[in-house]
């Protein structure tokens, strides 16, 4: 048996209270696309699952001031179809469209992707690229923290899903001269973990000739989703030309530490893909930012 009890929480407070009463033997569930497998394989065990998907508003996507706010139980299918995200944060829409298969995207959630803490999680890489924050709710209250601070090691999140929950993500929607892109390659075109994925966001000057700011995030090249800061530094405040792009791409290759995997790819090939996919993502994001 997977669990003895299954609770459908109707508020965040109710979910947290249920977890508190279970004293570590409960766990939140949303889409369950990772958790159910972990439970079936005996990698985790729980007495009670607390389902958060029925909490009103928990799966909403909205624009408030210049921020996009995404409820924790928003599915990848909702994200890939959202015109707001496609226009004002395309890296996340593109990343969402790569997750699993249509069936998985219909139930899998962004918060689940983050809490599962895999270094190449498409949703995490995109959120990192957007400098997103997550709202963490626990018995002491609610607090916005950077998504980048949530990852400890492969599969280990700073969010303890047996005691607290992510309620929403927020990030600044792209403004003028700003855009983003996501590139990914796997052994096949669906239902396959990435060999390499890359999220890129650029903010250009008014003329579209220089990079004012940039984010380059890559997986899986470190124990957690990785931000290639040296590559970013190579581009920041630079005129956009072939040399600058090449310098950034080569910096990304140098600072990434991919590992060889028997089932996915060797590290040499992964380095080659970092080079190719980072360049492609940069060029697409720059072209889109220029409009």
């Amino acid at each position: 048996m997977i669990c003895e009890e299954y609770i459908l929480a109707s508020t965040v407070e109710e979910a947290l209270a249920a977890l508190a009463s279970l004293r570590g033997e409960g766990r939140l569930i949303a889409g369950g696309t990772d958790l159910m497998l972990q439970l079936q394989r005996g990698e985790r065990s729980v007495r009670c699952l607390v389902d958060i998907t029925r909490i009103p508003g928990i799966d909403e996507i909205k624009l408030e001031d210049s921020y996009i706010i995404i409820g924790a139980a928003t599915t990848f299918a909702q994200i890939e179809r959202s015109s707001l995200i496609r226009q004002r944060a395309p890296v996340l829409a593109e990343a969402a469209s790569w997750v699993g298969s249509p069936q998985i995207r219909n139930v899998g959630t962004l918060a689940g992707n983050v809490v599962n803490a895999q270094p190449a999680a498409d949703g995490s890489i995109a959120l990192l690229t957007l400098d997103a924050e997550a709202e963490i709710a626990n018995l002491t209250g609610r607090q916005w923290v950077p998504v980048a601070s949530l990852f400890v090691s492969p599969g280990v999140s700073r969010v303890d899903a047996s005691a607290e929950m992510i309620t929403a993500f927020r990030f600044r929607a792209h403004g003028p001269r700003e855009s983003s892109a996501f590139e990914r390659q796997a052994r096949r075109k669906a239902l396959s973990l990435p060999i390499i994925n890359v999220g890129v966001r650029v903010l250009l000057n008014a003329e579209g000739t220089h990079v004012r700011d940039v984010r380059i995030c890559i997986g899986p090249v470190a124990p957690v989703p990785f931000r290639a800061q040296q590559a970013e530094a190579a581009l920041r405040n630079r005129a956009i030309d072939e040399d600058a792009i090449t310098e950034a791409v080569e910096a990304a290759v140098l600072e990434s530490k991919p590992r060889s995997s028997l089932l996915r790819a060797g590290k040499e090939y992964r380095r080659e893909l970092i080079r190719v996919l980072t360049r492609r993502a940069l060029l697409r994001a720059i072209a889109a930012a220029r409009g």
Binding site: K189, L262, G266, Y269
Partner: protein, 746 residues
Amino acid sequence: MDTRVIGQSLPRIDAWEKVTGQARYPGDFSMPGMLHAKVVWSEYPHARVRRIDTSKAEALPGVVKVITYRDVPVNEYGINTKDQPVLIAEGDKARWVGDRIAIVVAETEEIAEQARHLVEVDYEPLPVVTDPGEAMKPGAPLVHDERGDTNILHHFRIRKGDIEVGFAQADVIVEGYYITPHVEHAYLQPEAGLGYIDEQGRVTVIAAAQWPHDDLHQIAHMLNLPADQLREIVPAVGGAFGGREDMYIQHLLALCAYVVRRPVKMVFSREESVMRTGKRHPFYLRHRWGATRDGKLTAVEIEGISDAGAYASTSVPVLANATSFFAGPYVIPHAKIDGYTVYTNNAVTMAMRGFGATQPPVAYEQQMDKLAEKLGMDPVELRLKNLLEEGSIAVTGNRMPPGVGIKETLRQAALAAGWREENGHWLKPDLGPPSASHKRRGIGVACAYKNVGYSFGFDDKTTARVELTLEESGAIHHARIRVGASDVGEGVHTALAQIAAEALGVPLNRVEVAPLDTAEVPDAGSSSASRHVYISGNAVLRACQEAKAKLQEVLRAETGERHIEAEYTYCGRSARPTSPYDPETGQCDPHISYGYATQIALVEVDTETGVVDVLKLWAAQDVGQAVNPDMVVGQVGGGVHMGLGYALMEEFIQQEGLVRTRNFAEYQIPTILDMPREIVPIIVEVADPTGPYGAKGVGEMTTLPTAPAILNAIHDATGIWLDRLPATAERVLYHLRKLTPEGKTE
């Protein structure tokens, strides 16, 4: 009323049941008082089993019995050679991780699962041999010590003409060394079923099987029971592809029911199905081919080594087939061909869609394109100069029988793909620009052929019975066909029903195919070798013809008889006798009938990442006569899917005998997004006069040319030869970089 049903794309007779979820598959069966069983698998690929301690497992409440080797009356089985223990005995050894130590039978599945981890086994690990080349060397660890001092299970040779003369006549020579991987059958339905004692006291098994009557022979041997005290029922089957030709669960279910005398259910997890059952043989193929300047083949020298894994299974007949196909569907005056199959501690290897005809085209069709390139000749034109025709002498010295449609498949596929024939020369189409500057387009051709029916003197036969119920007028009200042909999902019951309807002159809805129960239907051989339409179709056709003759007699004599029965056993050798290899020269008449196919692939290769996209694929399939054209097209789609996976991504990986691709997340097959954007099926009908209404087989041939067509297209696009499958993006890029070591492809 037009009763012509052959050649009509009628809905499958099992379609309604399957799409409404009413059809029952082996895992859907349950019985009152039923127990559940789980297997204790060997933890080592090669180890002496010193002691098996079942006491802790037996002490667990709810455990009914832990079955070990002591409970097996005759502890050996095997479809060709009885070299497999059913359960490993103390003192004997496990030879791969699919070997079984014990079976735990319990009141619930959960208890059985818990108890199988409580069986304690004391192993003495032994040195592992996993490379067949290494396994052939003297001093290698022996997988079967009892067989003497070699791991070589078998060696076939073909000697035709004199290759010294052949190579002396050659103006060009091309060589290659090709490696194909282990491949998982990846059927939808993992092994599952029910074993019980029926109301007549028979040990009965409900399971997916390709040849239930043969399973009973093996189970009879294992249980030391006469076959009439055994029974196997095959319900709806979720795919087989050769993987259910051997027994992986049938004998275990029979053993459980025999030992505990209660119904026992067993369902393998996907991991068990992937890790603990047989695979397609890897082949290591060394080729050297010669041709004259004007493109005539003069000589081939081929050595092929297959990895048999831990037990023989069908490795010897697969090798026999492969050896006869190593040189392709071409006229070859001088040949020296050697095939070996070798025991290792890898997965058992066995039948899989093609039965030894799938690996050879990966090599022989790249050899043909290497020759075409060296000769500066179009690949279609080179093939047309060398392909077999009716009456051609094959490499085994036999004359090809009527119905050789290979040239017609090539011609039609090439024309459809845009080739032009001008002044006797063939001209490749313009492929148009690639979709991006870092991509390159290429087009590749591959031809292949394969036997229909059992080969090398093996008697191939089917018995079919037809029972007619007549209306008062004497018209046929209903026809029931009894034939032990397992419909493994390919639709053979529909095809046989169409043949019966045609022969009887009734619409298809008057014909019923009896469920497959060995107690009720006669033996029809295996659902393999693309043989049922041809062999069983002939049996059904003739049984129907006899029934019709009896009907005429009944009508003439006005007896008022309302039931008519007829039975016919069709033997393949009545059409064409086959013969085994001559031990020295390999000269023989190997096969009864043949199916032929050509495919052409249009690909785009990303030169920066190595990713290969198959844009379009033309598949011409000579089926003699399409019994049901939509079903042929379905076979083409499935065959291309398997072939594309073989070409680009599928590889069952083992390290030191341990499985690394344990499920479908790790062993990846193509999704719909990986398939060609467009498949153009072309049905070619060059009749085999011995087939029912001219029909040949179709199931396997659709997958044979796919991989080499894609590989040749990659070469056309980039100039690289892929000598090892699968052509993953990583391997493609590696070869591209080797081509231009400075790291740039432009």
